[in-house]
Symmetry: C2
Subunit: 285 residues, 2 copies
Amino acid sequence: MAATIKLVLGDSTKELKTLPDNSVDLIITSPPYADQRKSTYGGIAADKYVKWFLPISKELLRVLKPTGTFVLNIKEKVVEGERSTYVMELIIEMRNQGWLWTEEFIWHKKNSYPGKWPNRFRDSWERLLQFNKDKKFHMYQEEVMVPMGDWAKTRLKNLSKTDKIRDNSKVGSGFGKNISNWVNRDKAYPSNVLHLATECNNKNHSAAFPEELPEWFIKLFTKEGDTVLDPFAGSGTSLSVSKRMNRNSIGIELLPEYYNEMVTTLGISPTIKKKNGTKSLAKNH
Amino acid sequence: MAATIKLVLGDSTKELKTLPDNSVDLIITSPPYADQRKSTYGGIAADKYVKWFLPISKELLRVLKPTGTFVLNIKEKVVEGERSTYVMELIIEMRNQGWLWTEEFIWHKKNSYPGKWPNRFRDSWERLLQFNKDKKFHMYQEEVMVPMGDWAKTRLKNLSKTDKIRDNSKVGSGFGKNISNWVNRDKAYPSNVLHLATECNNKNHSAAFPEELPEWFIKLFTKEGDTVLDPFAGSGTSLSVSKRMNRNSIGIELLPEYYNEMVTTLGISPTIKKKNGTKSLAKNH
DNA sequence: AGCTCTTATGAATCATTGA
DNA sequence: GTCAATGATTCATAAGAGC
């Protein structure tokens, strides 16, 4: 069965309330940053950002499965020469709300926009905050293993003395599994720093993130048939990646332009309009 | 004239009060993290960290020149599966104290500690928080415009086939660091992500940071003859780098073992003991 | 010199055991 | 019960040794 896409036109603050409890496996989103995109989203002032976001995160907490994960892509902007602290405040307030702040990944943007300022360098990283509902959550680490460095080639030719010693100490009785863990190993677990280039092929949108970003987290935190939610769907990157990877997905988008474009790009066939006209639902075939 | 080193044995909370107002150009330090180094420093509990640090940061604000910069190396640890929030709280409280939080650099530790856990990857980055007293501060950007970082220097020597293959495969998207792009470039501005390895050749100490780290910030924020302060001198990395780079420096260290070793390694000749015996001052010739 | 290969180890984190 | 100590896990770097 093909993965379904549910696309909602409307405000996440309201639309999230229509989703059932404990129904989503992964929430991945890049909300409008404070005072960014003023022309389109109206711009949330930095000092009101936390107050604006908390009702949304409260609903997200409700709809997420206990085994699920919430990945929030965010970066505070510079206001009058200073980094705003609203992200810091948001983390603290979300913990008060019941979220567990499990980890902060760094997205290192390798080809960040070049530029020169008198007292500042290029900003080439963003936060990827991982929140969870419960300490026990699903994580499929093997899915995101990366090729090892060159050292592995030489390492595997002959195990060094250190390796043997460490192996002996942990095995205890005879030699067994541990050495075989190393032999024929060509992949390593990644760290909490992600090296991805920003997407430069999407010219219509200031794309929130490259496809590799949601792909990585979808691989890591969901399996096929699971449900992915993006409450700020934007150009629909999370949704299209979910579809490609056979995950069901739910997207909410405030702006009709983005919504309409997603209907086209995601291949969603019938758009069911509700009578009030402010909300639309669509499912792909 | 050779740069001077002033080394103080004692508690920063007290010893900083002996320094004059507006006298330091750069403060760079790596304080003991919460609940770390318990065996040596006693360990500050995570929930008391902010309270412990604020009196120190207040003195640092006083001694720093208006044109100076404070670089704080810190990273929160995991407590019961969650990241602690004391660094977030510290940033907020230091702003209330009068500091400007200008920037957050990322130190990407290329050779971070290995390990595998069911719900977490290796932690391979630390925060380098830049605080300022005033929006107008000295920044000598050209000084750190070194040829695209050390990694390129060594790679450029031999542009092997494996270099190209591996780098491209890691990036994944195909954009990334194609080294041949850099061949005809000799200078580039850095970004706010620093790629450095942790030092592993120092067998006596768990060195707080590699020499490249203070060196980079000293180049960036001071010129020759300026004064650098490290209120948690540790093994003295900041001080020895300052000396080598012809910057005056002041170090404060709580533990006699570290203090004594610094006296030796930094080549400080006379140690003047005060009568109470708890405090010592020394200047190099 | 300039290679290759060997070796030690780093602000880590979790599960288990023992007091 | 809580809390501290111990063991197991395992990647990338640089120094050093050898050719």
